[in-house]
């Protein structure tokens, strides 16, 4: 049986019934990697021994008839900007090429705590900056649906690995859409929880006020299971909320009667590709038939989200990435005569073009004379956008939009003009600006069979409602069951 094709909840059930062992599942996934990784190139580092050790420990538990946690023994992989003790964590950058953290991220500890066999670290856009995974120092990950196309970014490896069954589920990070957009491009479920629900301790920072860790899974049920594992207060993260997360599996109800869905007109405007628009309209009909009310409305500040996002994220990134200087860890140039050289050469040689561009942008936006016009202004616009969402949520329970304006584009298609690439984020950035939870689920395919994702946005801390809406959609459609023909 092709164990690697199954979902986490299916595999978990089989494990519990002793129909299969964790080692068997893990080996199945590892074999799949052997066959497919050379085409997809989703992994930066593979840790098969470590995964099998953990799997064996789980099997020992099972043989002693001990109780298992829901995701225990199910092999998974982690985006390479999340620290794993003793395992290289590179952010897909030359400047951290050989960095081995001596500590785990909070989420890594949680996963180790449930004996999740960790298969490896996944490819991404360098320092999470990008929407196509083409900015990785190491390799370009391919979209499993079409190896000439991008998987999306920055969690391209996380989405592609789940889409191609090289991991049963994975963790990614999302600053402006980096989980949701690749999920949409690769036909999997990508969830970014409310800011503060998942600890950022050990997530190598890109933009501190926007970054969140989330999940890439094969369906909404698995998403709920992962959320149960990774959410929760962490005393080491001051921005971690002190809310006790609910049991997200309780949200998995096939029922949207009376659910008030709002669709902002600005998100179905000119920038959106027609096949994407059509898929969204069809999805809206599905919801309407199931008893939800759908209403179009306007969010006038929408168009300002993207410029505000680029100013805020670049500014924070310019500060967060200043620590990479060749002194404490990471790459150091051989080419220096004094300290000043050491800094400049190390950073210029160690960072890729997109990272340098954003550092420059961010430094400019914070610099003397420009702070008010750019950074401060962007933070004020941020307030306006948050207020817009708050007002919308007075009327609606869920806001529905496309996840991305296009389907997966060809590798190299958008790399000449940075601004073109930034426009891929127009549907997703406003959510990070407002700190809200949002999930992308597959809702169709375009004319050439590329996946289309629908974004469900919830009120702050209301992951439950979007999980319910997503689960209901899955129960009434088959899009999530489609896999690429790899």
């Amino acid at each position: 049986m092709e164990l690697y094709k199954l979902t986490a909840h299916e595999l978990s059930s089989m494990l519990h019934k002793k129909e299969v062992t964790s080692v068997e599942i893990t080996k199945s996934v590892l074999e799949r990697i052997e066959n497919v990784e050379k085409s997809v190139e989703g992994y930066i580092t593979l840790t098969p021994e470590f995964a099998l050790e953990t799997a064996q420990a789980v099997d020992n538990k099972i043989s002693k008839n001990q109780d298992l946690m829901p995701l225990e023994g199910i092999p998974m992989a982690i985006k390479d900007n999340i620290c794993t003790n003793g395992i290289k964590t590179t952010c897909a950058s030359k400047i951290l090429e050989n960095f081995v953290p001596p500590y785990d991220a909070f989420v890594t500890s949680k996963l180790k705590g449930i004996n999740a066999p960790i298969i490896g670290k996944l490819n991404m856009d360098e320092f999470a900056m990008g929407s196509s995974n083409e900015n990785s120092y190491f390799k370009k990950t391919k979209n499993p649906y079409d190896l000439n196309r991008v998987p999306g970014g920055s969690s391209g490896g996380s989405a592609a690995s789940v889409s191609s069954d090289m991991a049963v589920y994975s963790l990614g990070s999302d600053t402006g859409g980096s989980i949701r957009q690749p999920a949409s491009f690769c036909g999997v479920v990508g969830m970014k929880p409310t800011y503060g629900m998942v600890s950022r301790y050990g997530l190598i920072a890109f933009a501190s006020s926007l970054d969140q860790i989330g999940s890439l899974t094969k369906d909404v049920t698995d998403c709920a299971l992962v959320l149960n594992t990774i959410t929760g207060h962490d005393a080491l993260d001051s921005t971690s909320v002190k809310i006790t997360p609910p049991d997200y599996t309780k949200a998995l109800e096939n029922n949207v009667k009376g659910l008030k869905i709002g669709v902002p007109e600005e998100y179905l405007g000119d920038g959106i590709n027609s096949s994407v628009k059509n898929a969204i309209l069809k999805a809206i009909e599905v919801y309407a038939k199931l008893g939800a009310t759908v209403e179009y409305f306007t969010m006038s500040a929408s168009r300002y989200a993207l410029p505000a996002y680029y100013i805020i994220s670049s500014a924070e990134a310019s500060s967060n990435l200043a620590r990479y200087d060749g002194i404490k860890y990471g790459y150091r140039t051989d080419n220096f005569k004094d300290l000043n050289d050491l800094y400049k050469q190390t950073r210029s040689e160690g960072f890729g073009a997109e990272v340098k561009r954003r550092i420059m942008l961010g430094t400019y936006a914070l610099s003397s004379g420009y702070y008010d016009a750019y950074y401060k202004k962007a933070q004020q616009v941020r307030t306006v956008i948050r207020n817009d969402f708050e007002n919308a949520f007075n009327k609606f329970d869920v806001i529905l939009t496309p996840t991305a304006p296009t389907t997966a584009f060809k590798i190299g298609e958008k790399t000449t003009d940075p601004l073109q690439m930034y426009l891929e984020d127009i549907c997703t950035v406003s959510i990070n600006i407002a700190g809200l939870p949002a999930m992308s689920i597959p809702c169709g395919f375009d004319e050439i069979g590329l996946p289309i994702g629908m974004q469900l946005i919830g009120k702050a801390f209301d992951e439950t409602t979007i999980l319910k809406a997503g689960y209901t959609f899955e129960q009434n459609t088959d899009f999530h069951k489609v896999r690429p023909g790899l």
């Binding site: 964590t89 001051s238 500060s319 003397s368």
Partner: protein
């Protein structure tokens, strides 16, 4: 042209918390390099800060002790610059919403009272240390000090002389020591001072261009640095040059300041609100709770000493300027010793020896019990004052019961009138010239004779008695 000096001071005090500001590493001076560190204070990838509540408590306390307003809603900000002692390449500090503002400190210089404004007090983290490697010509970086909590106290440019600056620093140090928020040890770097100096023609309203001086490592150095800088700026202006706004490094050994060109570019700190740390909301209840913990401050204590112990304004002021000395005095008085005597011993011999031996005022090696006992031995005539001084010296070397010291060193004074009278009689008979001198009106002769009797008793004669007996005997003749 007559110029007026304008001085502003920025004082950094390391807070004496147990742990660092954003992590649980120990806040300890010294130790082997990089052994008081963790991924958080060394800026490793992915780490996050969490603010130590005591740091805020201490900042509020320092603010209340200096009459500041406490900010109700504050935040922390990043100050971005590159330097090897700063692992994150930014210092987490406070920019526009510091915890305290608009305070003041009262000083007195040459009998003139003055109020020096405190613009603000904010919290921030300390940086590491650079060590110069003897062999390879490299610089070594030790992060032990990274993340040690600091308060930065910024004065208004209200000081007009090096004396005022020094007095402000002494007063501020004294207040901080009283609150217990910092141990204020300049030699250990727990109290540091940057000096801003400018001059302007007398009568001009606008301030002149100021320079900032760093590496001022003692209050004496601050005094000298200000004197030097005023001279330097005066010369520049008189030559028709402009003063460059810059940061200069004070070199105490060379008694001069030098321009620090490398710091020139660091002006654009690109401050922005720290996204990893949340709002600090200080309500009235919190301020009240900290206020409860405020001890009697130096000024109040001084007034009390004048009233209760009858000390002079000068003495009370001197002794209360140090909480350690003041505590020592009160402990002695609590044991029954006479306050004025205690005060005199502390301000004279004891302070002198503390300085000579390079000790801190908190490091007096003997106890209040021992001093109280010593004073009693002098009061009841067992030993003379001079012998007392010897005992004090011994208490510094080998502190133990003064009675034992007196016995060991044979310091018991001879107060037996009979024994002394014999000696006095002998000396008088052996010095007829002196007797004649005295009779002729030369009072100095008594001194000589008393001196001789002291010699004869090997210094152990009770001086008051000897004086009395000599005079009596002389008057008899």
């Amino acid at each position: 042209m007559n110029y007026e000096t304008v001085i502003g001071l920025e004082v950094h005090a390391e807070l004496s918390t147990a742990s660092k500001i954003y992590c649980g590493c120990p806040n300890e001076f010294g130790g082997e390099t990089n052994t008081h560190c963790c991924p958080i204070c060394t800026g490793m990838p992915g780490v996050l800060p969490v603010l130590n509540k005591k740091v805020v408590d201490y900042a509020i306390k320092a603010g209340l002790a200096t009459n500041c307003e406490i900010t109700k809603i504050g935040k922390q900000d990043r100050k971005n610059y590159f330097y090897p002692d700063l692992p994150k390449a930014y210092q987490t500090s406070q920019f526009d919403l510091p915890i305290c503002k608009n305070g003041h400190v009262d000083i007195e210089v040459n009998g003139v009272k003055k109020t020096i404004g405190i613009t603000r007090i904010h919290i921030e983290e300390d940086a590491g240390k650079l060590l110069h490697d003897a062999s390879g010509g490299n610089t070594l970086v030790d992060y032990n000090r990274c993340g040690v909590p600091l308060i930065e106290i910024v004065s208004e440019p209200d000081m007009r002389s090096p004396e005022e600056a020094r007095e402000f620093l002494e007063t501020l140090k004294s207040i901080l020591e009283y609150t217990g928020v910092s141990d204020c040890k300049m030699q250990e770097g727990s109290l540091r001072c940057d000096v801003n100096v400018s001059i302007r023609p007398v009568g001009q309203k606008e301030f002149g261009t100021r320079t900032e001086m760093k590496n001022v490592n003692s209050f004496r150095a601050a005094f000298r640095a200000i004197e030097y800088e005023v001279k330097r700026q005066t010369i520049e202006l008189e030559m028709g040059n402009l003063i460059t706004q810059e940061t200069r490094r004070w070199d105490d050994e060379k008694s001069a300041s030098y321009s620090m060109r490398s710091k020139e570019e660091a002006h654009d700190y690109r401050y922005f609100p720290e996204p990893d740390l949340v709002t600090i909301a200080i309500d009235d209840a919190w301020v009240a709770a900290v206020k409860e913990t405020l001890p009697e401050l130096p000024n109040a204590r001084k007034e009390r000493y004048i009233k209760e112990f009858n000390l002079s304004e000068y003495d009370a002021s001197q002794i209360t300027s140090s909480i350690h000395l003041a505590n020592f005095l009160e402990n002695c008085v609590a044991l029954g010793a006479n306050a004025k005597s205690v005060n005199n011993w502390i301000l004279s011999d004891i302070s002198r020896l503390v300085n000579e031996k390079n000790l801190e005022q908190s490091e007096i090696p003997f106890t209040p019990e021992q001093l109280a006992k010593l004073i009693k031995l002098i009061e009841d005539g067992t030993i003379s004052n001079t012998a007392g001084k010897k005992v004090v010296e011994e208490l510094f070397e080998n502190p133990r019961d003064p009675e034992i010291i007196v016995k060991e060193k044979g310091l018991v004074q001879i107060s037996d009138e009979g024994a002394l009278l014999k000696i006095v009689t002998e000396i008088i008979e052996n010095n007829p010239q002196s007797v004649a001198d005295y009779k002729a009106g030369k009072d100095k002769a008594i001194g000589f004779l008393v001196g001789q009797t002291m010699r004869a008793t090997k210094g152990q004669g009770n001086p008051q008695l000897l004086n009395k007996l000599v005079k009596e005997e002389l008057d008899k003749r």
